[in-house]
Amino acid sequence: VNDERRESRLRQGAQGTLFMIGLGLAICLAGLLVAALMVRVMT
C-alpha cells in the first residue's frame, strides 16, 4: 500500500511540474503573440 501511495504522489508531482512548465511556455507564447500583434499594428 505504501509503495502505491508513493507512486501516486510521484506521478502527481511529475504532473504538477509538467503543468508548471506548460503554463510557463503558454505565457511565453502569449507574450510572443502580443509582441507580433503590436509590431503589426504600430509599424
Binding site: 502527481q12 511540474t17 503543468f19 508548471m20 503554463l23 505565457i27 511565453c28 507580433a36 503590436m38 509590431v39
Partner: protein, 506 residues
C-alpha cells in the same frame, strides 16, 4: 506611563541561541565553495572560504555550547531573530568576499552579500569576468541559500521540530502554512527546488552545449544560471549577463525558471496535489496576470514608439524577457543598463519600474510589494466605493480566493495597504538619497531604488564598484527591509527601544 517590558537575559539568550544556529548553517554553506576552490587549486579563494567558514562555525558552536535553552519562542523572539539573522548572516557571508580582495572596501562586500542573500542580484564586484570559479559559485550558492530561506534550511536540519518554528517561518514573510508541520513544509520546498534543479540544469546544459560551450563550462554556467534564475536572484557569471549567451533557447529556459520561481510555494503545492484549478482562481495569479499584461502592452508600445526595436523577435527577446525578469524580481538583463536611459524612451522603462515595484508572489523567492497585496489593495478600494454608493444600513461583504474563498476583513486590508505604502515610501527615500549626490537624474535614481527595494537587480547603471558609499549603505538597508517586508525589522527596532526604555519584568 510606559507599559513595554524590558527583555531579560533569558530572552537575549534565546535570540543568541537561534542566531548561532543560523551562523552554523551559513558556515556549512561556505564549506561547499571551499571544497570547489581546493579542487580548482584556487588557493587564495580557498583560504578566504576556510577563514569565513571557521568564524561562522565557531560563532555557531560557541552559542550552542553557552546559550543552549529549551524555552519556547514567542512571536516577538521569532521576528527579532529573523531580522537579525539576515543582518548578521550578511556580515558573516561578506567575510570571504572581502578577503578575496575583489571589493573596494568591507561595505562593498556587505552590499554583495546582502544582495546575494536577499536574491536581489545587484553586484559591485570588480572584474566579474575573471572571478575565480569558486568565488562565483559562492555568490550564486548564497542566492540559493537566501532564496530557500536560511532560517528554514537551518531549522529543518538542526531543530527538533514542532510548533515553535512557526514563529520564525511567518516572520520571514512567508506566512502561508502549506503543511501543518514546518519540517515537512521545508522538505516540500526542497523537493520542488530539487526537481527544478535537475530539470533546469539539464535543459540549460543542453542549450549551452548547442550554443557552443565545452561540456565543463556548460555545466558550470548551467548550475549558476539555475541558482540565479529559479531563486529569482539574478547574479550572472559574466558582466554582460544574459547577452553573453546569444541563445534564444537559454533565454526561454531561463524565463521558464524565473516564472516557476515567482510562483508561490502554496501554488506549487496545489499543483503537486493535482489541483491546477487553484492556480487560475487565486487572487495573486489573477492580479499579476492583469497587471503584467497591461505593463507588457506598455513596454511594447513604448519600445515601438521610441523606435528602439522594430522586429517581433527583438521586442519579444528584449521587452518580454525584461518584463519577466522584473515581475519575477530576478534581474537578468538582455541589454546594457545604460540603454534603458538612452534607447528605451520613457514609457517602456516606466512600465518596467512599475513591474519591479509590484514584483512577484508572496511565499516565493521573489520580491517587491507582491501580487497579493496589490490585489487586496484593489479589492479594498472597490469595497470602500461599494460601501459609499450603497445605503448606510447595507452590509457590504467583499471576498477573494486564496486557497479558499475568504472574506476581506479590515485587518487584512490594513496589513496589505500598510506594507504597500511602506514599500512606496522606501522607493522614494532611496530615489531622493540618490538625487542628493547630484551625479544622477530622477529616472536613474528611481529605477535603481525600486530595483534594490524590491530585490530585483535590473540596473540602469547607478550601482557600480565606484558608486558613493552612502548610497551603497542606503541600498543595502533597502534590500534588507524589502526582503523582510518591514514587519520583522520594525519588531527589531521596537525590541531595541524596549531594551533601552522598557520596565523590568516583575
Amino acid at each position: 506611563v510606559s507599559i513595554i517590558l524590558r527583555p531579560g537575559a533569558d530572552d537575549l539568550r534565546l535570540i543568541g541561541f537561534y542566531l548561532g544556529k543560523v551562523l552554523l548553517g551559513l558556515g556549512l554553506v561556505m564549506l561547499v565553495p571551499a571544497v570547489v576552490a581546493l579542487g580548482m587549486q584556487e588557493w587564495n579563494s580557498a583560504s578566504a572560504f576556510v577563514i569565513g567558514a571557521s568564524l561562522a562555525i565557531a560563532a555557531g558552536a560557541a552559542s550552542d555550547a553557552r546559550l543552549a535553552t529549551r524555552r519556547p519562542l514567542t512571536w516577538a523572539h521569532g521576528m527579532v531573530i529573523v531580522a537579525l539573522a539576515w543582518l548578521v548572516g550578511a556580515i558573516f557571508a561578506a567575510i570571504p568576499m572581502y578577503l578575496s580582495g575583489r571589493f573596494s572596501d568591507p561595505l562593498g562586500a556587505l552590499f554583495e552579500a546582502m544582495s546575494a542573500l536577499t536574491t536581489t542580484g545587484m553586484s559591485v564586484i570588480h572584474d566579474l569576468d575573471h572571478t575565480p570559479v569558486s568565488e562565483d559559485f559562492y555568490r550564486h550558492l548564497l542566492q540559493f541559500a537566501g532564496g530557500q530561506g536560511i532560517v528554514i534550511v537551518v531549522l529543518s536540519l538542526f531543530a527538533a521540530g514542532g510548533a515553535r518554528i512557526a514563529t520564525l517561518y511567518a516572520a520571514e514573510a512567508r506566512e502561508e502554512r502549506i503543511l501543518p508541520n514546518f519540517i515537512r513544509t521545508a522538505r516540500f520546498i526542497f523537493l520542488v527546488a530539487g526537481t527544478f534543479l535537475v530539470l533546469g540544469t539539464a535543459a540549460l546544459y543542453v542549450s549551452l552545449l548547442v550554443a557552443g560551450f565545452t561540456p565543463t563550462r556548460a555545466f558550470y554556467h548551467a548550475i549558476n544560471l539555475f541558482f540565479a534564475s529559479f531563486d529569482t536572484g539574478g547574479f550572472s557569471v559574466m558582466q554582460s549577463s544574459m547577452m553573453y549567451y546569444h541563445s534564444i533557447s537559454v533565454e526561454i529556459v531561463v524565463m521558464l525558471l524565473m516564472l516557476a520561481g515567482t510562483m508561490s510555494f502554496g501554488l506549487h503545492f496545489a499543483l503537486w496535489n493535482g489541483n491546477p484549478r487553484e492556480v487560475f482562481r487565486h487572487i495573486e495569479t489573477r492580479t499579476l496576470a492583469v497587471t503584467s499584461s497591461l505593463l507588457f502592452l506598455g513596454v511594447c508600445f513604448g519600445l515601438l514608439r521610441a523606435g528602439t526595436y522594430d522586429g517581433v523577435e527583438a521586442v519579444f527577446r528584449k521587452g518580454f524577457f525584461t518584463l519577466v525578469s522584473a515581475v519575477s524580481s530576478t534581474g537578468h538583463q538582455v541589454n546594457a543598463g545604460e540603454t534603458f536611459l538612452t534607447d528605451w524612451g520613457t514609457l517602456a522603462p516606466a512600465a518596467i519600474v512599475a513591474a519591479m515595484a509590484i514584483g512577484g508572489m508572496a511565499s516565493s523567492t521573489s520580491g517587491g510589494i507582491k501580487g497579493i497585496r496589490v490585489g487586496l489593495a484593489f479589492k479594498t478600494l472597490v469595497h470602500d466605493i461599494r460601501r459609499l454608493l450603497l445605503p448606510e444600513a447595507a452590509l457590504v461583504v467583499t471576498t477573494y480566493h486564496a486557497g479558499k474563498r475568504r472574506i476581506l476583513r479590515d485587518e487584512v486590508s490594513r496589513a496589505a495597504t500598510t506594507v504597500l505604502l511602506l514599500f512606496v515610501v522606501t522607493y522614494l527615500v532611496g530615489a531622493v538619497v540618490g538625487l542628493a549626490y547630484g551625479e544622477f537624474d530622477i529616472t536613474q535614481t528611481l529605477f535603481e531604488s525600486v530595483s534594490v527595494g524590491s530585490n530585483i537587480g535590473i540596473s540602469i547603471g547607478v550601482v557600480s564598484p565606484e558608486m558613493p558609499d552612502g548610497l551603497m549603505l542606503v541600498y543595502t538597508i533597502q534590500m534588507w527591509l524589502g526582503r523582510l517586508e518591514y514587519v520583522a525589522v520594525f519588531a527589531l527596532v521596537g525590541y531595541l527601544i524596549s531594551l533601552a526604555r522598557g520596565r523590568a519584568k516583575a
